[in-house]
């Protein structure tokens, strides 16, 4: 026991520090330092392209952003995508989860069908759906034609409104599977006895859904919604691969604008300012999530 005590007691705190050090070192390098850095850089005219210095400009970048219509448009697109695709993915995901929860003899085809869209890169979903929505050779316009809608084929990705809609449809397809997987896990945890009792009491299936399924599922729904909202605010891959933000910036999101400003124009000062704006937008959502996490034992 003496050995045990010596190993356990004096070393406990040191051991904790040693074990946690790598994780916190990485977080410091990749997360904490960058957050400080974007706030600092947002007060500078810092362009990496030749000939420009590193000049303190105070709030100029923020003033520019305030009058920058592209910034406001991109922010609006980001918010709109979030407000449209998050609830839509929840509804579709809940539908898929309810269907997948039926007592199948073989579970794997259904489970794999939910896992495949989740595991596929967003960029691939964007490319595949861009092919679906192709004006001449896409299956969407082919189905429209077969259904007898005459006239010219719709130029999905070349018309601002349609392109935005096509991007939203793709995001909903790609993300509803993750929703369904989380909700399916929640569904399987609802005790069957609740439904049996409801059955005895003569509750209809709709009543059972409203009085048992939905309330019992609420924790899963909240978690799935928060996760989805955080990722929706960062939407980049799907509009980038489908439209590159076009036509005429109609599908450009805040993340795409930050990427363009920083990587294409090498304007890290203004890029940082835009990143701060994105940061503030996400912070609100993250705070809600963390409040919840802190309550979980």
């Amino acid at each position: 026991m003496a050995i045990l005590d010596r190993v356990r007691d004096p070393g406990e705190r040191t051991l904790a520090v040693v074990l946690l050090a790598p994780a916190f070192a990485l977080l410091a390098l990749i997360v904490v330092y960058p957050i400080g850095r974007i706030i600092y850089q947002s007060f500078f005219d810092a362009r990496l392209s030749g000939g420009h210095g590193h000049r303190f400009v105070g709030l100029d970048n923020y003033r520019i952003a305030f009058h920058d219509t592209e910034f406001w448009t991109a922010t609006w697109h980001t918010v709109a995508i979030t407000l449209i695709t998050v609830p839509a993915a929840l509804v579709v995901g809940l539908g898929l989860a309810l269907l997948a929860n039926l007592p199948f003899r073989r579970r794997w085809p259904v489970r794999l069908a939910l896992l495949l869209p989740w595991a596929m890169p967003l960029a691939f979903a964007g490319l595949i759906f861009a092919w679906f929505f192709h004006t001449e050779y896409g299956i969407v316009n082919d189905v429209v034609r077969r259904l007898g809608a005459g006239g010219e084929p719709t130029m999905w990705l070349l018309r601002p409104g349609w392109a935005f809609a096509a991007v939203c449809v793709t995001i909903v397809w790609k993300t509803s599977s993750f929703m369904a997987l989380i909700l399916l896990a929640g569904l399987t945890m609802i005790p069957r006895s609740l439904y049996e009792a409801a059955e005895v009491d003569g509750a209809s299936h709709f009543q059972q859904f409203r009085e048992i399924t939905l309330p019992m599922l609420m924790p899963s729904i909240v978690v799935a919604l928060i996760f989805r909202t955080i990722t929706a605010l960062q939407t980049f891959d799907i509009p980038y691969t489908m439209t590159r933000g076009g036509p005429a910036d109609a599908t450009e999101t805040l993340a795409m604008l930050i990427h363009k400003t920083t990587i294409d124009y090498l304007d890290v000062g203004y890029g940082s300012t835009l990143a701060v704006a994105m940061f503030v937008l996400s912070l609100a959502v993250t705070t809600v999530y963390l409040r919840r996490l802190a309550r979980t034992p």
Binding site: L15, L20, A23, I38, L112, A113, L116, L127, A255, F279
Partner: protein
């Protein structure tokens, strides 16, 4: 409920009982999940002339593998595949080691602020990656690390830290302390007990966390596009997206390349689906 009321809801007496209904439900879920992948597979097997024929064909008339040959010869697809594998494997290994150490501390040691530490790890990785893009790009550029594996491996490790830590911590909590104590009485150090007793017992958890980390790294697009844009350093999602010219998509080659890129990840999740689902809900729900 009276039979009449049941009829009024439009549902059979027990909707779970109907075999036809179950089949229909399965069909909806399966078609929704597989159709895009199947469609791109069919596309990849059509000849180029068939692809631009109107009205479009659904089933390929003349099966051809030409597109696959061209996918590998027109672009360094094999190189992209290698880059994706290298980056995903390295970052997965690194996040597992770092997360295992942290998760052990969180699960086992008498830390006063366990929940706070766990929250800090999860929270700091929840900040939008795109806001960190600017400084990460600057740092990697200053360190001359652009277009290297390191530029992606380090951020991906952090990206995967929360999910790995959550999954592993909950696995470690399930392993009885007595086993460790016994190992320590037998002369193991605490860290020795961690590697020889706890980690092997948590192997399923390590594996689950590893698959999730691998998929995340395999799928990442924004950083890969921004930091490793050199043709020889692109990962699969970036490489295939950039097949696209200014106004043209070379669909025959893109579709074949997509199939090549989707197969490995599809096989991985097909083999380990139960673990993936378990890990996903654990990482999500506990978090």
């Amino acid at each position: 409920m009276s039979p009449a009321a049941r009829v009024a809801t439009g549902l059979p007496a027990n909707p779970l009982a109907g075999r036809g209904l179950r089949l229909a439900a399965a069909a909806i879920v399966v078609v929704n999940g597989f159709f895009p992948a199947v469609w791109i597979l069919l596309t990849s097997l059509k000849t180029e002339t068939e692809l631009v024929r109107k009205p479009i064909t659904y089933w390929p008339r003349n099966l051809t593998l030409d597109n696959y040959v061209r996918a590998f010869t027109d672009q360094p697809l094999l190189r992209f595949l290698g880059n994706s594998l290298a980056v995903a494997l390295a970052s997965t290994a690194l996040s597992l080691v770092v997360a295992a150490l942290a998760a052990y501390a969180i699960a086992r040691l008498n830390l006063r602020r366990r929940q706070l530490i766990l929250t800090a790890i999860v929270a700091s990785s929840m900040f939008p990656l795109v806001t960190l893009l600017v400084p990460i790009f600057e740092t990697m550029r200053a360190l001359n690390l652009l277009n290297t594996y390191t530029a992606l491996v380090l951020p991906y490790t952090v990206l995967n830290l929360p999910v790995c830590t959550l999954v592993l911590a909950s696995f470690f909590e399930g392993i009885p302390r007595d086993l460790e104590n016994a190992a320590m009485i037998d002369g193991c150090t605490r860290v020795g007990a961690l590697w020889r007793v706890v980690v092997p017992l948590a192997a399923p958890g390590v594996f689950t966390a590893g698959i999730l980390a691998f998929v995340n790294a395999w799928d990442e697009f924004l950083l890969a596009l921004s930091l490793n844009a050199n043709a020889s350093m692109r990962t699969l999602p970036v490489g295939i997206t950039l097949y696209q010219g200014e106004f043209t998509f070379p669909w025959p080659t893109i579709s074949a390349a997509l199939v090549v890129a989707i197969v490995p990840i599809a096989v991985l999740i097909a083999l380990f689906q139960e673990r993936v689902v378990g890990g996903l809900t654990q990482g999500g729900m506990k978090g």
